[in-house]
Symmetry: C2
Subunit: 228 residues, 2 copies
Amino acid sequence: MDRSVLRSIPLFAAMSDAQLDRMTAQGSARRIAQGESVFEQGDPAKAFYLLLHGRLKVTQVTRDGQQIIVRVVHPGDLFGFTRALGRPDYPGTATAAVDSLVASWPTESWDGFVENNPQLAMSAIRTIGQRLDEAHTRIREMSTEEVERRVAHAVLRLIEQAGKRVEAGMRVDFPISRRDIAEMTGTTLHTVSRILSAWETRGLVEGGRQKLVVCDAAALSRLAENAG
Amino acid sequence: MDRSVLRSIPLFAAMSDAQLDRMTAQGSARRIAQGESVFEQGDPAKAFYLLLHGRLKVTQVTRDGQQIIVRVVHPGDLFGFTRALGRPDYPGTATAAVDSLVASWPTESWDGFVENNPQLAMSAIRTIGQRLDEAHTRIREMSTEEVERRVAHAVLRLIEQAGKRVEAGMRVDFPISRRDIAEMTGTTLHTVSRILSAWETRGLVEGGRQKLVVCDAAALSRLAENAG
DNA sequence: CGTATTCTTGACTTATATCAATGTCGGTGG
DNA sequence: CCACCGACATTGATATAAGTCAAGAATACG
């Protein structure tokens, strides 16, 4: 891991070479195979992470065994910096959706980094703030929208954050199941399956096993916005 | 406004007298009458605030006019520091549920405060982090729990954060309508009314116009946890 | 007092979950 | 290489939680 890797990430863009070198010195990189987890819900938070390459799903299981997807981690995102938020353990499990590469630092390093670099602090605040915004958006959608619109919003977001051009349109660039989408929108895989089938008939998307291609994003947006 | 007021708030506890004085010098206090708003959704974020006394509800309205309650602001909470999160406008409206007193600072002051006081930055990160946690909890509840349990959780939270001992039990210490609870839990006032009526029959709560007293918190907790 | 909120309650409707069965894909091992 | 197994997906039938519609009662307020 060298400083140019970090430099390319907005969170670290404003840091000096010396500061970046100090960070890279304390951190280390690690490869996570598809299906493996970086940490598990309830584990003591010994480190915080940055996704360098790949894609992760952060999930939570409720006491009665139901699972939800809290968020998808994209390259360049910080994750698992739970301790900085005042929690001693990880609130969820981070699983690699594809082979991934993560950088990690011991939690103890956090305070030092922040103290020596107010820019980093402000960036971090903005980052968490965005996440809070996203969470509120999700709450608003779950409170006021029906399932179909929620799914439409979720799919559009996936395309924005992880869309890849293919012949038929834009494809979600990591394996994503109907169940995953259900766990992101607070519904069941059955309902998601029905919705996607209907969309496929209308030519809006193309489905498949762990696969999703959006063919007509504009129509999907309309659907997401105007209740109809 | 003097420094002892701020000193009593965890967020500022670690600051030096000099720093606190600098903050109080740049800020000002303002009284908000019940029903008035501190700022409205979409207003440019010219200031950030701290609730000194009273109680606020932060609401959002969707394009089609549906309203949700994003959160309740309690004394000692920072709110409206949207700009620090990288947004130019307020994402919601903050309305006084009772006569309230707020301190405010121009948004431009934020960066200076943070740069000169890493402690404040770390406190702020923790604060937003907690809020993110709360948001995720709400998402999890809305995804996996039925309405009655969600309402139970919401009511218990209100009691924790704004409970006041009265003869019959613990009362929510500000006017709160059935509609408010509905907007906090993603349901309708009708359903909330039915649920509270049922609870009242079982002796768990005592209702009333804009009033809510929890008589048997233990039973309510049980209800909130074990699906039954 | 009358008018406006807030709340309650009943009857009905509907979106979505649940239950159940079947199909399809893709990798593993015989 | 083919057969089989497990994970994922589809689709129909049915059940039900909670929303909608509607009417009225209670409480606060000017």
